[in-house]
Amino acid sequence: MTETTTPKRGVSLWVQIVIWAFIAALLVLVGVILNKRQQGTVQPGDQIPDFTLPLFSGYEYEGQSEVKLSDFRGKLVVLNFWASWCKPCEQEAAELEEAWKMYEDSGKVVFLGADYVDTEPEARAYLKKFGITYYNGPDMGTRISQLFRIRGVPETYFIDPDGVLYYVKVGPFLSVDEITSIIEQKLP
């Protein structure tokens, strides 16, 4: 037997150190993220701090190339997080646009699309494909999505005219009625 002739050797110390360091790093990483996730998304009733959304060209708001949430005080804001790579987003794209068309002329409701972790050519192709006309721009550096602590796309936040969040929709809308009924709750 070869086994008796070769000396039995354990795992060398540095390999052990590497393994344990790897496990520890992994657990710390997951632990920190878990802790972050436990806070959940922003809750209805929270006052939303101001943020700035740069807009894609062709999607400007009154000639401005970026908008602040505070620009819309007095209006109801529907903030939709989406991405061109997100399949469930496609499910609701037409519905969002249709709902926007219903309120566009009233001037009481604003739809904002925040494009989450995306590239501009794909995002533009997506907007064109679904004929989206409401204000849209990239969520630069994921600053806005972190402000809302979103967990994925699509997610939609309904902010009342006073800047207070009153409804959160995680996942795609399945009908225009679903969107309008949430808006009608707070429409003055």
Binding site: Q16, L34, W85, P88, L174
Partner: protein, 689 residues
């Protein structure tokens, strides 16, 4: 009353499980067989206890006990009874009960059978599975109690297990929220329990591996005992993945079957290591090599099951599969840590004793190619793991979220999958111990030539896409090489035993289930690869709004919109909107399809049911996206042509057959000898008459 009963039984099983684990531990440490026996009996008790609790839950589900919050969340009055039963595993709390129940079933099955034979391992197996079960039951009892009820306290409704205040009364909602209609699909009803079966069944090989490490019996005993468990676990896991794909294809409405979603990857990672394990275990049995490696694989598989479940259930990873925000995170995290640290510590401790008995002699031998196969599986695992973990790292370090999408996975794993296909064709032809380029070349050249001819034909008649041709070449190589193996084996037996060819083939396969079942699985993988190549490379789509009588074109197909009708079905609580379209191919009428949208009143959700025309050549897949409700003049359709996709489902069925064949118990040789002798004696007796 019933809710308290169900919860009480769960509490009792929790305590019994803890006792079982502790008694087994001290029993084996103090060599007290009485204590070990007591632990075993306690363990056996968990199965009926959790069964009773589960039956209570199912009773509550079937009988619309909406005062129980879990029942309220996952069922509604309009749901048929079978869906109410399956709601058992449809929500987080219930699925944890289901999981615990499976664990109790499997552990009982192990401890009931062959106790004497495996007496040295089994106490430790009980310890390991009791710890796992304690954890899951603990999670249910403390955090995710499916028996929690609604109480009316001072005009507010709050969920609680027991009466929260003296004045509190039970609150019963009129109707439940109902199951998400997307999940009311046969594939979705079977998909989760199959995955859970697969996940939980891996506890058994893991527990035996731990027992082997603890007791120091590091020969191949544990792999022999758990071989069939690994195979069945793998079967269920594979089935779960395939059914999930089928569900996505039918229901999600984008003609896809696999989206590289974090939850999909979490289920796919243990499958990768499980597949590698199935192969490398054979090397340990045949050649006494790779003992370390098998231990690593079994630990990895089980850890990935637990880790993946944790990541997706605690909300660390977001996905379309996400469960509601849940408090189980930190508790689960503790269990993940315990599993990883204790397994690795044990493995490091026993590392020197897991030495190979033989050395690798040839880089082309069967064992070398198996090792290569393992490395490829591991590489795919690393790609997947990085895809799942890197967004977390970047979120932590740069405070920016970066997600990796399907293109990353497709680019990184594509060549690795191609390598696996190549090995699938070549490795079965190489010999254990020693193979050379010459021996391998002799075995392979005919198949390779045939595959080249097929590829050339495809190049001329079907496609000039390089990746598609490469894929089809590898598929053809597998089919020819594996077919050749069947043919050669049967011919040899035909000559030696003077049997009819088909009898010889049948007996040949019957003598080595694992080997020929494995070959059938290889063939099925090749068939599935055809479907995947088809949909990934050749899928085409179009979208458009048309009035009645107008048509949309895609490739050779013309889809003409005829009419649309919308009606309520109050009994089912659904509104149906159904379009009728005529299908033509190059002007030839093929028939009608009926894409529709079902609207569920209780959950206010739409469900898109595609009109589908399936052939082996392609799937025409038509979705009704939108319509004009008042005039029903126009309707919007999305149309996909998914070439070859049905080979994927055909391959899945072949795969299932191959697996069942491989896992089917072979006749015990001793048994067989006795049986044969009896028939011969009978024959002599009847000849004497």
């Amino acid at each position: 009353m019933l809710a308290e009963f169900g919860y009480g039984v769960l509490l009792v099983s929790f305590v019994v499980t803890i006792y079982s684990g502790i008694a087994a531990f001290y029993g084996v440490r103090s060599k007290s067989s009485a204590l070990v026996e007591s632990a075993r009996r306690a363990q056996l008790l968990t199965f009926p206890l959790i069964t009773i609790s589960s039956l209570t839950l199912i009773y509550l589900l079937i009988n619309n006990h909406f005062e129980v919050s879990f029942v309220y969340e996952v069922t509604s009055r309009s749901m048929p009874t079978y869906l109410k039963v399956t709601a058992w595993w449809g929500g987080q709390a219930g699925s944890l009960v289901f999981w615990s129940w499976l664990l109790a079933v499997f552990t009982s099955a192990v401890t009931l059978r062959k106790w004497d034979r495996d007496a040295e391992f089994l106490p430790w197996v009980i310890v390991v599975s009791s710890i796992t079960l304690t954890f899951f039951l603990g999670m249910i009892v403390v955090f995710e109690n499916p028996f929690t009820r609604f109480w009316l306290v001072n005009g507010n409704v709050e969920p609680s297990m027991f009466k929260p205040a003296a004045s509190a009364t039970i609150f019963t909602p009129n109707d439940g929220q109902g199951l998400n209609p997307l999940l009311r699909h046969p594939g979705m009803i079977i998909h989760p329990p199959m995955l859970y079966l697969g996940f939980v069944a891996y506890v058994i090989p893991y527990a035996f591996a731990m027992a082997a490490l603890i007791t120091g019996r590091t020969d191949d005993r544990w792999t022999r005992i758990t071989r069939r468990w690994s195979l069945w676990a793998w079967l269920f896991l594979s089935l779960g993945l395939v059914l999930g794909g089928r569900w996505a294809y039918d229901v999600l409405g984008w003609g896809g079957y696999w989206g590289w979603d974090p939850v999909e990857i979490a289920a796919f990672m243990p499958w990768l290591t499980g597949t590698a394990l199935l192969h490398s275990v054979m090397i340990q049995e045949k050649r006494g090599m790779l003992k370390h490696w098998n231990m690593i694989l079994v630990i990895l598989t089980y850890s990935l099951v637990i880790f993946g479940t944790f990541l997706t259930r605690s909300g660390v990873l977001s996905s379309v599969h996400s469960f509601a925000n849940s408090p189980i995170g930190p508790f689960f995290m503790g269990f993940v840590t315990l599993t990883l640290v204790s397994s690795i510590a044990l493995l490091i401790k026993r590392w020197p004793e897991l030495k190979s008995e033989t050395e690798m002699k040839s880089m082309l031998s069967r064992e070398a190619l198996f090792l290569l196969n393992n490395l490829l599986f591991m590489s795919i695992l690393v790609v997947c793991f990085w895809g799942v973990i890197s967004p977390l790292i970047s979120e932590l370090l740069t405070n920016q979220k970066i997600t990796v999408g399907p293109p990353y996975y497709e680019r990184a794993t594509g060549p690795l999958f191609a390598g696996l296909l190549f090995l699938m064709a070549v490795a079965p032809l190489s010999a254990w111990g020693h193979s050379t380029v010459q021996t391998l070349g002799r075995a392979l050249w005919k198949s390779a030539l045939a595959a080249v001819i097929v590829t050339v034909i495809l190049f001329v008649t079907y496609t000039q896409n390089f990746y598609a041709l490469l894929g089809f070449f590898l598929v053809a190589l597998i089919l020819f090489a594996t077919g050749h193996e069947f043919w050669r084996g049967a011919r040899a037996r035909q000559k030696a035993q003077n049997e009819n060819f088909f009898v010889a083939l049948g007996r040949l396969m019957g003598r080595n289930h694992r080997r020929y079942g494995g070959y059938i699985i290889h063939i099925s993988m090749a068939l599935m690869a055809i479907g995947i190549l088809g949909i990934e490379i050749f899928q085409t789509e179009t979208q458009g709004t048309v009035a009645a009588g107008e048509a949309l074109n895609l490739g050779d197909y013309t889809v003409e919109y005829r009419e649309l009708a919308s009606w309520d079905s109050p009994g089912e609580g659904v509104n149906y909107t159904r379009a009728v379209v005529d299908i033509y191919e190059n002007g030839v009428y093929l028939g009608q399809l009926y894409p529709r949208i079902d609207y569920y009143f209780d959950s206010q959700q739409n469900m898109t049911i595609p009109g589908q025309r399936s052939t082996l050549r392609d799937d025409l897949y038509i979705l009704l996206v939108d319509w004009q409700p008042v005039s029903s003049i126009g309707a919007t359709f999305k149309i996909y042509v998914n070439p070859l996709v049905n080979w994927l489902w055909l391959g899945s069925i072949t795969f299932l057959l191959g697996l069942i064949f491989a896992a089917w118990p072979e006749r015990d040789p001793a048994d067989e000898a006795v049986r044969r002798k009896v028939t011969r004696d009978n024959r002599q007796a009847s000849a004497a008459d």
